[in-house]
């Protein structure tokens, strides 16, 4: 069988990405993400939250080199921002008892610092879990699972098409900027010049995108998008293995019990 025949044949069975993490059912991953971040949030210890952040890195690493690189780039930048601002602001401005240093309204306190640290870890672990979920779960898998549950085709279309639209919008914006510079509007140079050139095109950019949407809708109409029956799928995921379901239940129980235990008088 040549490669094209292999490609076509691959649709006859459930599609596998070839990576353990990526092949997990989207709902499994959603469940885990929620369980982990809720648990760590409610349990409140620094180390549980830190553990979640570390788990995020590990899971992304397991999901493939490309993915891991993207996650590290994006998440590290975001995490750093949160750490810097939350710890910094809280340390300097939050009132506390143990004062280390003072200058005007800035008062560096131990309580402020630890509060900031706690907040930063909380925000970062929530952020990390959500980001990781989206990184290791391709949108088309999410949409497939959602459709399988009975969501209308329009919903999945909107989600998936929006993502593509954003890419298209970027290309459009570039072309429009080129055409403006071809008319003598200065687009290179300092930020102010560039902003001056960019802002007037925002309106036609979006208008153009909307006009394009009308045609897209017509095109989708011609492909029976408004049909009332349950659609079949060319791209299908495997049935969730029993092991995954068991693991989810197990994880949920562990989290619930831990949280209840913590809040027991």
């Amino acid at each position: 069988m040549n490669s094209k025949e292999k490609f076509i044949n691959s649709f006859r069975n459930a599609k596998l990405h070839g990576n353990f993490i990526l092949d997990l059912n989207p709902f499994t991953k959603l469940n885990c993400a929620f369980a982990i971040f809720l648990g760590a949030a409610l349990l409140g210890h620094y180390w549980t939250r830190l553990a979640v952040i570390i788990i995020c890195y590990v899971i992304n690493a397991l999901s493939g080199k490309e993915n891991f690189k993207r996650f590290v780039k994006l998440y590290s930048f975001v995490a750093f921002l949160f750490f810097f601002f939350l710890i910094g602001l809280n340390t300097c401005f939050r009132p506390g008892e143990t004062l280390y240093w003072e200058w005007g309204i800035i008062g560096i306190t131990k309580e402020g610092f630890f509060y900031g640290l706690s907040m930063a870890l909380l925000i970062n672990e929530i952020c990390g879990s959500i980001m990781s979920f989206y990184m290791v779960t391709p949108m088309k898998d999410i949409m497939y699972s959602v459709e399988r549950l009975g969501a209308p085709r329009a919903a999945s279309y909107i989600m998936l098409a929006s993502m593509q639209s954003i890419i298209d919008l970027g290309k459009s914006a570039n072309t429009i900027m080129e055409s403006q510079s071809a008319r003598g509007v200065e687009t290179s140079g300092n930020l102010k010049t560039r902003a001056k050139a960019f802002v007037p095109i925002l309106f036609p950019l979006f208008l153009g995108a909307i006009a394009g949407t009308e045609e897209k809708t017509v095109a989708m109409e011609t492909r029976a998008f408004s049909a009332n029956r349950k659609p079949t799928h060319m791209y299908e995921l495997r049935k969730t293995p029993a092991l995954e379901k068991v693991f989810c239940v197990f994880l949920d129980l562990v989290v619930i019990i831990s949280v209840v235990w913590r809040f027991l008088p």
């Binding site: 429009i176 510079s181 071809a182 008319r183 003598g184 290179s188 007037p200 309106f203 036609p204 006009a211």
Partner: protein, 262 residues
């Protein structure tokens, strides 16, 4: 005064070679058509002429000025460019505002702004649309709106990217009239087109591109006579030319000529 491309190469940032060793001289007032497949490098070549692309090798010199040291906006004063898709260029809420844009941006006085706008609108036959929102007018008319807007800059060189696409008979006639007017006004027009009948009817000089190179530069009769050029660039002869060739009468461009020969 001319646009000169001297051994110009253009490579995209990702490394793809779009144009190789382009050598071309277009004198002020000259009218040329550029033809060839999509992907042959026509659009990148004209973008080199208005400064949207800077050559990765070689020089592009417009009326004595090297484009390397100028921004696109600065070169646009000499070379006007009408994009293929008018929606990429039009951004004002009325046709009038769109056509007046260049004059206003360059702070011409009000009388001049009005007169240029009216002149351009008349030339492009869009006077009746002046107070309408561009989004409400048909695509083929929008093309003329974007042409009118660029005309007001009165550049010595004008580039039209596929002006005949989607045009009906009236639209193509309007374009012919426009080309004729520009020539009389001493302005150069460089047109990218796929319409070979339009080329045969309106141009004395045709530049053929394929695989990023210029493979031919001559009159329509010369171009259509070379089978190798036609097949390499994947272009077809106009109907009359094809007919005369099949009848063994060589390459005839005009109907009257063919009729007289028979």
């Amino acid at each position: 005064m001319s646009i000169e491309l001297q051994h110009v190469h253009f490579r995209y940032p990702d490394g793809t070679l779009a144009n190789e060793d382009l050598n071309l001289v277009i004198h002020e007032g000259e009218r040329i058509a550029i033809v060839g497949q999509n992907g042959a490098g026509k659009t990148t070549a004209v973008k080199l002429m208005n400064g949207l692309h800077k050559p990765t090798e070689g020089e592009v010199i417009i009326n004595g000025i090297n484009t390397r040291n100028k921004s696109t906006a600065q070169i646009s004063g000499m070379v006007g460019y009408v994009f293929q898709n008018p929606d990429d260029q039009i951004f004002k809420n009325t046709v009038r505002d769109e056509v007046e844009f260049w004059s206003r941006y360059n702070k011409l006085d009000e009388k001049e702004i009005q007169s240029r706008a009216e002149w351009a609108a008349k030339l492009c036959d869009i006077e009746k649309y002046l107070d309408i929102n561009p989004y409400e007018i048909p695509y083929s008319t929008k093309k003329f709106v974007s042409i009118a807007a660029v005309l007001t800059a009165r550049n010595p060189y004008l580039i039209l990217d596929e002006p005949t696409a989607g045009q009906d008979v009236a639209g193509v006639e309007c374009l012919s009239k426009l080309l004729h007017y520009m020539e009389q006004d001493g302005k150069s027009v460089i047109t990218i087109t796929h319409d070979m009948e339009f080329v045969a009817d309106n141009f004395k000089r045709v530049v053929v591109m394929a695989h990023g190179h210029i493979i031919a530069d001559g009159t329509p009769a010369e171009i259509f006579a070379e089978e190798s050029i036609l097949s390499e660039a994947k272009i077809k002869k106009p109907q009359i030319c094809e007919l005369s060739t099949r009848l063994g009468l060589g390459n005839i461009m005009k109907i009257e000529t063919l009729v007289n020969k028979l």
